[in-house]
């Protein structure tokens, strides 16, 4: 019998225990991966949003305060600014839902398509969006969720603004970081609000990434000491400020992650030591026939490492397969969109599993090393 064969036989001789051990490691790692992915989704906006040279301009008081529409002319004259669109959160309840379950924004369709270039649409649908003032385009996720078709009339009751809208769906788009939103013409919004002359935020496209710091500075200065001072920031900074609002929830999820890891450690370490304690006598025999401590430690380590590795494969691989093949947005009713299991997260979980294998082997290995051969041989159970 080879040494590898010996280790595998040993690991599997109590099949039930090996299975339970592997399964508990797998379940815990699955949970850990899910938590890490969820945490990443709420705390980290996608890395690539910086590439689009987009600037978001909001009221300095807070995002909830509107900006005057007259700012547009000033913005458009600022050097380095290529395109400007109003970007107003409408917040309507769709049909008979209790609260808004996806976001609707009023924009200037033409400028919007120049700024949000990653939104992919069919040419004829884009054409209709540009021409018809009551037209709207819907993100693919939302369109699929409600089974919306081109030509559908979509009715909304305004929760944030005192106006109700009826929009005509003329197309779908995909390819943005959040394909759930609906976009419609700001002119229709203005009309419905009785030409209030207010917008939520401005989205601005800078000429290039290098121009961004200067453009940001110019925009902020342009409206300093006016009735509506603004805060211009890069899209990424804007999203980070949204993340900051989650407050202590992030710490909460992080602490839960560490508790999960600790519980995992506890359970598998105890299983491992249980398995070793049962065969003290055998180990004493091994020692008696000349195996050295570190060789025996190697056996124990390999066994516990192996169990942890199989558990990790099942748990992490399972999580990866699960989140890659199911539609998370359907499952959570649109709370989460991407739920991407990144190599980094898999790496973290894998490291936890490896550490687990090593730490669980330590206690029994130390007990074994301390044991004298004679005592070991005397052990009965």
């Amino acid at each position: 019998m080879t040494i590898a064969g010996f280790i595998v036989k040993n690991a599997l001789r109590n099949k039930r225990r090996a299975l339970l051990c592997i399964l508990s490691v797998a379940v815990s790692l699955f949970l850990l991966v899910s938590l890490l992915v969820a945490l990443r989704e709420i705390t980290l906006p996608p890395e690539d949003v910086g590439a689009a040279a987009r600037i978001i301009v909001r009221n300095k008081v807070s995002l909830a305060s509107p900006l005057p529409a007259r700012q547009r002319a000033v913005l458009e004259r600022i050097p380095g600014v290529e395109a400007v669109t109003p970007f107003t959160f409408y917040g309507g309840k769709f049909r008979d839902e209790d609260f808004p379950k996806f976001a609707q924004f009023a924009v200037d369709p033409k400028e919007f398509m120049r700024i949000v270039v990653e939104a992919k649409m069919q040419v004829d649908q884009l054409d209709a969006f540009l021409k018809d003032q009551r037209a709207c385009i819907v993100g693919k996720i939302t369109a699929d969720k409600y089974g919306l078709k081109i030509g559908d009339r979509l009715n909304f009751i305004g929760t944030l603004w005192p106006c109700d809208l009826e929009l005509k769906m003329v197309g779908t788009y995909q390819g943005t970081i959040d394909d759930r939103n609906l976009f419609f013409n700001h002119k229709y919004f203005d009309e419905a609000m009785g030409n209030l002359g207010q917008v939520g935020t401005w989205w601005v496209k800078a000429r290039s990434i290098d121009d961004m710091p200067d453009v940001l500075d110019r925009i902020n200065r342009a409206f300093a000491n006016t009735s509506a001072e603004v805060r211009a920031e890069t899209e990424r900074a804007f999203q980070m400020s949204m993340v900051s609002m989650w407050g202590n929830i992030k710490i909460l999820v992080r602490s839960i992650c560490s508790v999960v890891v600790f519980t995992l450690l506890l359970v598998s370490a105890s299983t491992m030591s249980m398995a070793i304690r049962e065969r003290f006598r055998e180990l004493a025999v091994l020692k008696a026939i000349g195996f050295q401590r570190r060789e025996i430690f190697g056996f124990i380590l390999a066994e516990s490492f192996g169990l942890a590795a199989v558990g990790a494969l099942l748990g992490i691989g399972g999580a990866w397969a699960f989140f890659t093949h199911i539609s998370i947005s359907k499952l959570t009713d649109g709370i989460f969109v991407a739920f991407e299991v990144t190599p980094q997260i898999m790496g973290v979980a894998g490291t936890v599993a490896a550490a687990l294998g090593i730490v669980s082997a330590l206690a029994p290995a130390i007990a074994m090393a301390r044991m004298s051969v004679v005592d070991g041989l005397k052990t009965l159970d």
Binding site: R16, R17, L20, C21, L23, S24, V27, S28, F30, L31, S34, K60, V61, S62, L63, A64, S65, G91, K93, F99, P100, I157, G158, T159, L160, P162, D164, N225, S227, A228, E229, R231, S241, V243, S244, M245, W246, G247, N248, I249, L252, V253, I256, V259, V260, F262, T263, L264, L266, V267, A269, S270, T271, M274, E278, I335, L380, D381
Partner: protein
């Protein structure tokens, strides 16, 4: 014939080294469950604890939250002298026309920024909300740019000590007092003079009206009258009911708690199973002896299940104890209703602790089911012969 309960209990304690890990494992699972659920309870208690039963809140029809509601001055003029509204000694109606503004402010220790809910109120707005008391400084003076901040918010945001000032909307606001809302939603608010707030933040309209009805009948009549008046695109509802319905923020936390509990309990069941199998295996002879003495299979089965349940219950109790220090600890996150920082506490209620214990017993019983079956099916003679 049943085995004495002490036999089970002593068995659990006897193999303490093997059981300790399982007990701790179950304890951590229960602690996580109780803590996450206690957040949801804290949030719900905070909104459920808000408002005065005698008050009626008036908001725009269609607005899901007070902060997105608008009430015009014309609507205010129409409503304010209705006879269903109580008057003070001087004959003025007990009505506060509020304006709600979100302002973006830095947290303490450079911990990012968040929205804070500023409520501009009429002077009578203070006595209309008797659960809010001043704990330091003084109330704001109408006509001045002064604010009173919640004590709990002050612990989380920079420049919220009495005497501090911060700027928003291009103006400087001075903190002149701190208030306590007795664990209500008002603990997440900053109060100031309503007309000043409307001028600083350029608000033409009010957000909501809060009125004190003359009595119970008056309250019902008032709500009905608002509903019946077709000129008014507003609706009236009891203040307590408005706040009690604000449970949207607690939902995802509850879901998270249940999800975690389910996933972690599977792990805990495996752990309990492992321990119980080992326990059964190491007393094969003892169980054989019990059978010979005349104890029946189902007695043995029950005995092992009780043992597993007790083991897990022990873990559950430890878990509840572990979570207890967090009780009353104040924390905050974004509210999905107001889109602003909401401050609330971990609230571990007896009911929640009982749920945690029940949860642990289920884990123990499910985990010991298979080992118990195995123990009860051991062939007597072989069991006796085993070492």
């Amino acid at each position: 014939m049943a085995l004495p309960i002490t036999y089970n209990l002593r068995n659990v304690v006897l193999r303490w080294r093997a059981t300790l890990a399982t007990v701790l494992g179950v304890a951590l699972v229960v602690a996580v469950y109780v803590l996450v659920q206690s957040l949801a309870v804290g949030l719900e208690k905070s909104s459920g604890n808000t408002g005065d039963p005698r008050n009626v809140m008036i908001v725009r029809k269609g607005a899901t939250a007070e902060s997105s509601s608008q009430v015009t001055r014309a609507q205010l003029r129409l409503i304010q002298y209705w006879p269903e509204i109580a008057r003070d000694d001087a004959g003025r109606p007990l009505l506060s026309a509020d304006v709600l503004v979100l302002i973006n402010l830095p947290r303490r220790e450079d911990n990012g920024e968040a929205n804070v809910l500023v409520r501009g109120i009429s002077p009578v707005g203070i006595p209309l909300r008797p659960q809010v008391t001043l704990v330091g400084g003084r109330w704001f003076t109408p006509g001045k740019r002064e604010v009173v901040v919640s004590r709990r918010l002050a612990a989380r945001f920079a420049n919220f000590e009495i005497g501090d000032s911060f700027s928003s909307g291009g103006r400087t606001l001075t903190v002149v007092g701190q208030m306590d809302g007795q664990r209500s939603a008002f603990d997440s608010e900053v109060w100031m003079d309503g007309d000043e707030a409307r001028s600083i933040f350029d608000r033409e309209f009010y957000s909501s009206l809060l009125v004190r009805a003359t009595d119970d009948a008056g309250r019902a009549a008032l709500i009905e009258r608002i509903e019946g008046d077709k000129r008014l695109p507003v609706r009236g509802l009891e203040e307590t009911k408005y706040y009690a319905a604000q449970t949207m923020t607690a939902m995802p936390i509850k879901i998270l708690g249940n999800l975690l509990a389910t996933a972690m309990s599977i792990g805990a069941v495996f752990a309990a199973m492992n321990t119980m199998y080992a326990s059964v295996a190491s007393r094969t002879r003892e169980i054989g002896t019990l059978r010979v003495l005349g104890f029946r299979r189902r007695t043995i089965l029950l005995c092992i299940i009780i043992e597993g349940g007790f083991l897990a219950l022990l873990g559950g109790a430890v878990g509840c104890l572990l979570s207890l220090p967090m009780h009353g600890y104040s924390t905050g996150t974004i509210s999905f209703e107001t889109f602003s920082e909401t401050v609330f506490e971990f609230r571990i209620t007896p009911w929640l602790a009982a749920q945690g214990l029940l949860f642990s017993v289920i884990v123990g019983v499910v985990g010991s089911l298979l080992p118990a079956l195995r123990a009860s099916r051991l062939p007597v003679i072989a069991a006796l012969k085993s070492l």
